[in-house]
């Protein structure tokens, strides 16, 4: 066996220049793929984060039918008891109330989605409080925080007085004065453009509501637990309400993120197809160069199977050398992007993607999932590409090969 390894290793270095060029192609392909996979995963992770802990939460509980008809009358009664049950199994939960109102600052006014949030619990479930662009998160009575774009629409800045007018649950007209405590960073189209948050008690006052919530957002205690099985656990404790994962509530976002992940494999196949064609060409040339030599080897007793193994081993070594260097290059590039990121803020202020905002400073992630598949695919495609030259070599007839010119 050792003799095969020795032979294969020596064979690939017989034509140094060709080997180097082939390996260079593999290095470039692999490095690019690892970096690209890292960036794509980074984007997907960031957007998934924006879609969950910076928004709906991982799991939401609603009164049945609320998602189809977001009415202030389809509420969860006594959300406190439900939250207790959820906290008992170690997860975090926050009650929310959502309604519509007319908001005005100075001469400007706009319709707005109003959220009543539990000032303390919300921080444990989502990360709005760390995504404040200016000012601070809700602290006092009558504090409100605004989405980035609606703040511009209202021309509101920190400390401004805000008037909110609503139709309360009993049909009366709710109206009160509030103070702008903070303005949120870009989160999602919907939140940026139309959302105003206040404490849940202020919300109950203006909307004239009792001990109810329109939504309970939940965050897993154990991030590694499968989201669907976690949802089923919650469903078992709270059978009377509707329990859904963010993927079920926002299927478009979920699908889009899956598709983005799949784009890694599409690019992978395109880049590697080029790489493996180079590989095919290299090995085919090397087989044709050595027809006489292979003929002699077969004449002195090498069997076709052994020739086949030899060619595959040569390919394996070529790919191995290339991928080691490529791995080194790709991982360092990817680590650089993980740490320093790709700063696109000079080009764009962040773009939104199916309603979810992607930040202009784009960070990659580097992990097993971004590194391993590109390497495995490289080996697989190289070995597939070399089937033809290997077959060609192993099917040679020694007599013909010896007289080949």
């Amino acid at each position: 066996m050792l003799i095969y390894l020795k032979l294969a290793w020596r064979n690939i270095w017989r034509n140094k220049r060709r080997t180097m060029i082939t390996q260079f192609a593999l290095v470039v392909a692999l490095s690019l793929m690892i970096a690209f996979a890292g960036l794509t995963w980074g984007l997907v992770n960031q957007m998934e984060r924006n879609a969950t802990i910076l928004g709906p939460g991982e799991i939401q509980i609603h009164s049945p039918g609320y998602l189809d008809d977001r009415s202030i009358y389809r509420v969860i009664e006594h959300p406190g008891t439900i939250i207790n049950k959820i906290e008992k199994i170690g997860a975090r939960a926050a009650p929310r109330l959502q309604g519509f109102g007319l908001v005005s600052q100075g001469e400007n006014s706009s319709g707005a989605q109003i959220w009543g949030v539990d000032i303390y619990r919300e921080k444990e479930v989502t990360e709005f409080h760390t995504h404040i662009f200016k000012g601070y998160f809700l602290k006092k009575k009558r504090d409100v925080i605004l989405g980035k774009k609606i703040a511009v629409t209202l021309d509101a800045s920190i400390g401004n007085e805000l008037v909110i007018v609503t139709q309360a649950a009993d049909g009366s007209i709710g109206n009160d004065l509030y103070r702008v405590a903070g303005i949120l960073n870009g989160i999602s189209e919907e939140i940026d453009r139309s959302t105003i948050m206040m404490s849940i008690s202020d919300f109950k006052n203006i909307f004239n509501l009792g001990d109810v919530a329109t939504e309970i957002a939940i965050r897993r205690s154990d991030k590694t637990e499968n989201l669907n099985s976690f949802r089923d656990r919650i469903k078992n404790i709270i059978p009377e309400e509707e329990v859904k994962t963010w993927r079920e509530i926002f299927p478009a976002i979920s699908d889009m993120l899956e598709l983005t992940n799949a784009s890694i494999y599409i690019l992978l196949i395109i880049i590697y197809l080029a790489g493996s064609l180079i590989m095919l060409n290299t090995m085919l040339m090397s087989v044709f160069e050595r027809i006489k030599e292979l003929g002699i080897m077969m004449a002195i007793g090498f069997r076709p199977m052994q020739v086949l193994i030899l060619i595959f081993l040569e390919t394996f070594f070529l790919t191995l050398c290339g991928s080691l260097v490529g791995l080194l290059g790709g991982v360092s590039l990817s680590l650089y992007l993980t740490h320093y990121g790709l700063d696109l803020s000079s080009i764009t202020e962040g773009f939104s993607f199916v309603g979810i905002l992607a930040e202009p400073h784009w960070f990659a992630v580097t992990n097993f999932n971004t590194v391993f598949p590109p390497v495995i695919f490289l080996f697989a495609l190289s070995l597939i590409a070399v089937i033809y030259p290997a077959m060609k070599a192993s099917l040679l007839k020694p007599v013909d090969a010896l007289v080949f010119h």
Binding site: L102, G111, V165, D170, I173, L177
Partner: protein, 261 residues
């Protein structure tokens, strides 16, 4: 020539026939009221040059039911001031309309806020009237093509039916409006509002025709949304006076605050 002459005579007869038909038609046309005149008369009936009225508004939805007592001042088609007098919680809440602008005054917080155009289809104070209803009256004739689409007996009465279609360039909220009007005194019976797909959205029914403020007019208006047939808003006039002296300054933001306060 002798072969052709019967043709000429036929031609002449046909022309004469059309001429007579045309003359008859224009005669009818001038005798009947145009849709423009009818709509103008209806507009004037409620508003006069100016009006001061008090009415009850009863609102019933699936979740609550409430009554408001409201006082309103109008001048021409451009100015309206509405103030809630009852219940206590909303006492003094006022709406001012000047041309196509709408402001609400909230006495509790002593603030005036402008209703943005994006909320024109929003409900006015929780009723089934939209903010647009307050603004609309003055632009109905301007923004819609209108013509009489039916004339004759319907629901046991001799009526006109006028259909309004939005003008191409007009920014309007309704795709079609059908108004049924009693012929004898030009009192409207109902207005039906349709969306762009010509699906009926709501019906405004006029009833209780009485003499009030020196005029005969329907003193009750009921709005029923088609998607929630159990809900309605009913406006009943308690009293109304026409052609009072009201200066333009009465309809100012300043007075909006004072009246409400």
């Amino acid at each position: 020539m002798s072969i052709r002459s019967p043709f000429s005579i036929t031609l002449l007869l046909v022309m004469l026939f059309f001429f007579l038909l045309f003359a008859l038609f224009s005669e009818l046309q001038s005798a009947a009221l145009s849709s423009q005149e009818i709509l103008d008369k209806i507009d004037k009936m409620w508003r006069g040059n100016s009006s001061i009225g008090t009415y009850f508004m009863k609102i019933k939805t699936a979740h609550w039911e409430r009554s408001l007592r409201i006082k309103s001042w109008t001048k021409g088609l451009d100015y309206t001031l509405i103030r809630i007098e009852y219940p206590k919680k909303e006492k003094g809440v006022s709406t001012l309309k000047v041309k196509n602008n709408l402001w609400n005054y909230l006495p509790k917080i002593k603030r005036v806020i402008k209703v943005p155009s994006s909320l024109m289809m929003g409900s006015w104070m929780g009723s089934h009237f939209t903010n647009d209803d307050l603004v609309k009256e003055s632009t109905l004739v301007n923004d819609y093509h209108h013509r009489i689409t039916f004339e004759g007996e319907r629901e046991g009465q001799d009526v006109y039916e006028i259909t309004l279609f939005p003008k191409e360039e007009a920014v309007v909220v309704w795709g079609k409006i059908v108004i049924l009007i009693r012929k004898k005194d030009l009192i409207p019976l109902y207005e039906e509002f349709f969306d762009e797909q010509e699906k009926p959205v709501r019906k405004m029914i006029f009833s209780d025709v009485k003499k009030m403020g020196g005029r005969v007019l329907p003193t009750r208006m009921t709005v029923v949304p088609y998607d929630k047939p159990s809900e309605f808003t009913e406006v009943t006039y308690l009293e109304i006076a026409f052609d009072m002296e009201l200066p333009d300054t009465f309809f100012s933001l300043r007075n909006l605050k004072q009246q409400g306060g």
